[in-house]
């Protein structure tokens, strides 16, 4: 079947039975099962009659009971504090302290929201003067995920793009930040620097040194750091480690660590939880002006409170079963299985791509996606131009039509001019990944041949 015709009409015979959706970062949609402990606790919280059930392990019941005690009227149907249930905020701050090797974290600086996206939007709302004669600017990486760009635009801010360096594994280079800021200052008032680490869609992860450089840059240039760290527990590259911005900041000497203003974000949507639909996320505020914090609290209160189920999921993420707990064996097996799956998938992806012409990929270190580069011939680019579409968008549409594989085009995330990419979700069941890779391989080989 030639590509050099119109996109096939809907009723044409298809050579696949179902669509493989690798377009969104959704663990469960990808076939990975939820963590048993999490679902058992949630079910018991929803329907406390289950607490009398013999089938539920003791630690599940104890956790559910202790969480229900924190809810007014013992019901998860009650409103909570606007910034989240106090005990859960304590739990989150302890999680942060453990993660950061002892760096203190106060529950007063933790704000639970309906997903990290909502938290990010509230911070943007605080930072952005949408009516000023001089537009507020926010530095945003290219590439970055589309909903965030939309959120910034929605608030009326100017986007100041800074390019990640693809050739160096999508590295964040401070020189590029500096260049972007300099350009941005000509047309707007830059106030915030948004970082996604580990990155979406790129999967890059910053070295400790890189984080220090960025923090120093933000300090010098007086920028508020928005550190989106929702993929912090998805790290699989060899010799790769996640460093939180907070931890690095705390180790940079008191002048910087007590002045640089920052909000870091985490969520139950990613990692081993994958509970995107429950909408549980938090932000930790560092060095925020206390007067601003008061206004922020008031702003949060108008949204009444974050969904209680999301808050509970956060508690379980921050304080999972420990060795010795009845649920621990199953829990650790399930988490390990997810890690293994992702490792196997990323391995297979790199193997398959290595064999294919016209597609190349930076080393996969972290996150939930791979963002390979497609090398289109002039012929292919001309064909797309004729259809008034971005080449990678057209590639994805044809891929979907021809093989039923759904991935997203790089043009939705931003990329250097004349470069093209696709974004694939990697945390899916192994057999689904294999199927997806075969479909991609078949399509891509034909595509490259057709447009050679």
């Amino acid at each position: 079947m030639s590509f050099l015709k119109e996109i096939s009409p809907l009723d044409e015979r298809r050579n696949y039975n179902e669509v493989l959706d690798l377009s969104s970062g959704d663990l469960h949609r990808g076939g990975i099962k939820p963590i048993t402990f999490v679902r058992q606790v949630l079910a018991a919280c929803f329907y406390p009659a289950l607490l009398e059930d013999d089938s539920l392990p003791l630690d599940v019941k104890q956790r559910a009971e202790s969480l229900l005690r924190e809810c007014d009227g013992g019901s998860i149907g009650s409103y909570t504090d606007s910034s989240g249930i106090t005990k859960i905020k304590h739990c989150v701050s302890q999680f942060i302290t453990r993660r950061d090797g002892g760096v203190p974290s106060s529950p007063d600086n933790i704000f639970i929201k309906s997903g990290s996206q909502t938290a990010l939007m509230i911070m943007l709302k605080l930072l952005i003067h949408s009516k000023d004669s001089c537009q507020t600017g926010v530095l945003i990486p290219v590439p970055t995920y589309a909903s965030f760009t939309l959120a910034v635009e929605e608030q009326g801010a100017a986007i100041i793009p800074y390019h990640l360096c693809e050739e160096q594994g999508w590295m964040l280079q401070v020189e590029e930040l500096r260049k972007a800021l300099h350009t941005g200052r000509k047309t707007c008032n830059p106030v915030a620097l948004y970082i996604c680490n580990p990155g979406n869609p790129t999967g890059h992860i910053q070295s400790r040194k890189s984080i220090e450089e960025v923090i120093r840059f933000a300090a010098e240039e007086r920028l508020f750091i928005l550190a989106d760290e929702v993929y912090q527990s998805c790290v699989y590259g060899d010799d790769t480690e996640f460093y939180s911005y907070k931890k690095v900041l705390s180790e940079m000497g008191s002048t910087i660590s007590s002045t640089v203003e920052m909000a870091s974000f985490n969520s139950v949507s990613k990692g081993f939880m994958g509970e995107c639909g429950l909408r549980g996320g938090y932000m930790e505020l560092v060095n925020l002006d206390p007067a601003v914090k008061q206004y922020a609290s008031r702003l949060f209160s108008t949204r009444s409170c974050p969904p209680v189920v999301g808050q509970i999921a956060l508690d379980l993420m921050a304080d999972p079963p420990k060795p010795g707990d009845p649920s621990y064996p199953t829990f650790s097996e399930e988490v390990q299985a997810i890690k293994n799956t992702i490792c196997k998938n990323t391995g297979r992806i790199q193997e398959v791509f290595a064999e294919l012409p016209g597609i190349s990929c930076q080393p996969l270190k972290a996150g939930f996606f791979v963002f390979p580069c497609l090398h289109f011939s002039l012929k292919a680019i001309k064909w797309a131009k004729k259809r008034q579409m971005e080449p990678d968008m057209l590639y994805c549409l044809c891929l979907l039509e021809e093989t039923g594989l759904h991935v997203r085009p790089g043009c939705e995330y931003g990329q250097r001019k004349d470069s093209h990419h696709i974004r694939l979700f990697v945390a899916t069941q192994e057999n689904i990944m294999e199927d997806a890779l075969q479909r991609l391989k078949t399509f891509h080989t034909r595509f490259m041949k057709e447009f050679s």
């Binding site: 990975i32 149907g77 009650s78 008031r298 702003l299």
Partner: protein, 489 residues
Amino acid sequence: MSENGALPLRGKVLTVDTMNANVKKVDYAVRGPIVQRAVQIEKELKEGVKKPFEEVIKANIGDAHAMGQRPITFFRQVIALCTYPQLLDDNKFPEDAKNRARRILQSCGGNSIGAYTTSQGIDCVRHDVASYIQRRDGGIPSDPDNIYLTTGASDGIVTILKLLTAGEGRTRTGVMISIPQYPLYSASIAELGAVQINYYLNEEKCWSLDISELQRSLHAAREHCNPRVLCIINPGNPTGQVQSRQCIEDVIRFAAKENLFLMADEVYQDNVYAEGCEFHSFKKVLFEMGPEYSSKVELASFHSTSKCYMGECGFRGGYMEVINMDPEVKAQLTKLVSVRLCPPAPGQALMDLVVNSPQPGEPSYQTFMKERTAVLSALAEKAKLTEEILNTVPGISCNPVQGAMYSFPRITLPERAINEAKAKGQAPDMFYCMKLLEESGICLVPGSGFGQREGTYHFRMTILPPTDKLKIMLNKLKEFHQKFTQQYS
């Protein structure tokens, strides 16, 4: 940067002066300073500090479960089944609950309630919502494509206001809202930098809405802004009035004539108690007024899982139905809601159960109806009780609580009290409510948080505490008021 690498001392990037100026104007009395004080007092009680009361009664917020109302068994069973599908094998759960759960799970990615849903909301839920609306409104069709599931009704309300807010200076969007109103509206209007246009409800006529008042306020507003939106809360919050059908027709006619977008906040639609009162949805009335109106008037109606007989505030479930929205604007709305990804899936599932509750013949029907009826009849009883007791207090006058969950009685304050309050820089009814809290542990919200006519004072209390506690609370209130009046005469 100085030579030794240290930063010169500078102010913060984000200060009260550099932050979004609109945020400063945001106030939400329902969770404001009086509630903060109440929480503090609760802490003190826990620590053993002696007070003239043993517990704080939080009658400030419309949270039914917090006040002891039980969740509907069927709903919680289905949600538990959706959450932990292993329970589908457990014979302790009724078959109808299992069927609902299976149906919901089938529409979720990976059959999990933890997957993202589409930003507009799970398809089958939107279909069920549309069917419910159709049934409720006597067959008037509802298109699932016009249904947006939301994170509580608040999310939908703020989203529509955002969509409608535009212009600068004299062309800035004006939003008409009742006085008194639920402060989400005033807060959102402030946050968005829109212009608040007050229209006063008529306290003497049981908080009814007069078209002449709408006209007056609109006319005055046109001098300094561009009025585009008319918000109605029916049944009312804080006032509890249930609009008559005639009134709704008049409002629709007014909106049509003056080219206003109607926002109908109907989250209390099952909470109607008074004899002779009935809930009429704006959509139903609109369509029964014929195509001259039904094809023209732009309307958004809102519902939620937080109120009625469910009281599931913590789920953050809700929906809005948009009628006659310009297709291009609707496309923008769809884009706007996509930014926050999706509403919580359990809230969506719960909304599905609310609009698709057990039917006669189904195993759970009897229990469901029993529970639902118990909640609503208790509320009706408490509404009457509240009105009766408060009206026996000289200096307190309470309109009938026709619906919703609150009473908003008017209080007469002695001149001396008013002056002392003003000297403290406090609204007189805040002064009153703070004293009430400190002396009796009852937490209410002062009327100034909702808006009221100049020179009048009110408070809002919920009718949610269990009947016995409510009686105690009302009597304590009575005692306090008499003491307060005497003290400041």
